[in-house]
């Protein structure tokens, strides 16, 4: 067999080639390679099976318990969405957190980098593959979401928005995982750091929100209404309104707040997501530091009109916090991928200590 330079083997130039097409073709090649390499294994299917069994069990149990409470599909739906998010955040870092440094360890990163595949194609391709892998879990949960819909009380809009936001959140975790795998040299560390970031967002944000809000207090002067001779009093009030964005960065809050709010006639939310959204948006309201008390202690007279803003009014008047939260997440994911791209680019100029190119 001859090894003469044959024209077929040279990068063939065909008329319909453009840089954009080449970029997408190379990107998709990396995605398919990644899926063939990383995903197509018995272990992955077993994991998916366990996931389906768990979601099914949660759905059935929720359904049984909520029919006992005579509520309906809203609670089941919210809970299943949260459960899918929980399992996704638990599985995704393990599947994406060694995408780049794992390849370096088995020696396939450099052999890809000497081809015409660019660093951008490599990093983005690995991200898309990790995202697709995570979306498979979401897709497996969709039948259970539809089942919750059949129970009533959930609008198609809520379903669509929730699934889309959930998909975006999975993408963010995939991006953070792949990004860190390009930044951290050892696969174990990058996976652990990805888990820590997921934990910081899921658990850390409510803790930080409460601590920050209560630690920074303002003095509120409560003046009695006109005609009342009560002395003015001062109290310390927590300033949660300065830190609501911390809570907004919680993925559960993002998913809950993004679903269109459904309220009953008295302005109360209809489902779990609605209550969370109202609670989070309430935090945006700054306390009135020169408040007038509608009640006079010395006379026992009540001056107020008895009107409190309803949950619906609070919800409608606030900044949609999911937008802020998702924005923070997208910036985090994009930043991680950009950082990985910078660290993986070849020819490499500066190498972190202990890292080999190949």
């Amino acid at each position: 067999m001859s090894n003469t330079v044959d024209t077929n083997a040279r990068p063939a130039v065909t008329p319909d080639r453009t840089p954009a097409r080449d970029f997408v073709a190379g990107l998709w090649l990396i995605v398919t390679l990644e899926l063939r390499q990383r995903v197509r294994g018995v272990a992955w299917y077993i994991l998916l099976g366990i996931f389906v069994v768990l979601v099914a069990a949660v759905t059935v149990l929720l359904w049984l318990s909520t029919t006992a409470w005579e509520t309906g599909g809203g609670a089941v739906f919210s809970a299943v969405i949260f459960f899918v998010l929980l399992l996704g955040t638990l599985v995704s870092p393990a599947l994406s957190g060694n995408a780049i440094n794992g390849d370096r360890d088995i020696g396939t990163l450099a052999t890809t980098q000497v081809t015409l595949i660019s660093t951008g194609q490599l990093v983005l391709g690995k991200f898309v593959a990790a995202w697709i892998t995570a979306l498979a879990f979401l897709a497996a949960a969709v039948p259970f979401l539809l089942f919750a819909v059949t129970l009533g009380q959930v609008s198609p809009g809520t379903i669509a928005v929730s699934v889309l936001v959930l998909a975006a959140e999975h993408g963010v975790i995939a991006a953070v995982g792949v990004g860190l795998s390009g930044v951290v040299t050892r696969p174990l560390f990058s996976i652990v750091v990805t888990y820590l970031i997921v934990a910081a967002l899921s658990v850390g944000t409510p803790i930080a929100f409460v601590l920050l809000g209560t630690a920074t207090k303002s003095e509120q002067t409560l003046t009695p209404p006109a005609g009342c001779h009560d002395p003015a009093t001062t109290v310390d009030v927590p300033r949660f309104d300065r830190y609501w964005w911390v809570l907004a960065a919680n993925p559960y809050v993002v998913v809950a707040d993004a679903s269109p709010g459904v309220f009953d006639t008295s302005g109360n939310p209809q489902d779990l997501f609605g209550w969370i959204a109202v609670g989070v948006r309430q935090a945006q309201v700054a306390p009135d530091l020169q408040a007038e008390v509608p009640y006079c202690n010395s006379t026992g007279q009540y001056y107020g009109d008895g009107k409190q803003p309803t949950a619906r009014e609070l919800y409608d008047n606030a900044v949609p916090s999911w937008f802020v939260g998702l924005g923070i997440h997208l910036a985090l994911g994009a930043g991680a991928l950009l950082w990985a791209w910078r660290r993986t680019i070849t020819p490499a100029r500066r190498l972190p200590t202990g890292r080999r190119v190949a």
């Binding site: 083997a9 063939r36 390499q37 088995i106 490499a348």
Partner: protein, 314 residues
Amino acid sequence: MGSNAAQGITVTGVSRSFGSVHAVRDATLAVPPGSVTALIGPNGAGKTTLLLMLASLLAPDTGTITIAGHDPVTDPQAVRAAMGWMPDVLGSWPSLSVRASLEVTGRMYRMSRPAAAARANELIGLTGMEALADRPSRVLSRGQKQRLSLARALVHSPSVLLLDEPASGLDPAARVALRELVRRLAGEGTAILVSSHVLAELDEMADAAVYLADGVTASAERVALAGASARSWRIRALDPASLEGGLRASGVSGTRTDHLGTLVQVDNEAAAADLLARLVGAGVQVSAFGPAVGDLEHTFIDLSRPEANGGAAA
């Protein structure tokens, strides 16, 4: 693409350090198209670092590199389209078959799907992996992975080939096949740089050699000097006693005898030819007469001696 002087590999005054470790200090070499150059040096001399820079993976701190007329730092895409690299680390996608690995690599070079499949088939034949073509690469032995790695470096018919320890792990038959393949590729105009420790192997493969010690390529004068220094020749005769007498009669001293024959220090090839003529003239029945070590090994060992480095590499 023309065949001007800028084709092949040229390296001028290249250095690269990792923190305080100066892996390559001053490397200068040229590999013209259609030739095989051996890159030789002790462990840790900077061979792999130099090859990584040539493979467009590592940027040099100073100096310039051109591969097939392009600078790997400013135009890595053009370099990669023309350059094949066989790394010293055997990396392969574990779950992909040999055939699929080669097809994927071809498509990474923007070949069409049918072209990549045809090329994969061709390379499987070229490297003698027909029986392994559909096995996942994780079950391959070291030598088989080595062949896959070589095939992968050839996927896009590169005009510059960088081989880092290509012979390690290969059985003798595969070594011969590798040597023949490398010579044929050079005959077809490929510029090939081979690093290896198996110097005897390189002797038969390489047109030229570059010696790298402590990150510095030895100058041509030093190589010539080292190559011309006195070396051992091994002589075997049917009757060892008559050989001994013949050598004494020729005034050769400092001989040493091992199980393969008698080792004699001879200054140069002319002196060796002279000695042979005298031995034969004295009636010694010489059955073997040749240098005890290959040209490359002789030069390598001579250059690796501390005094040859002017005492710099203590």
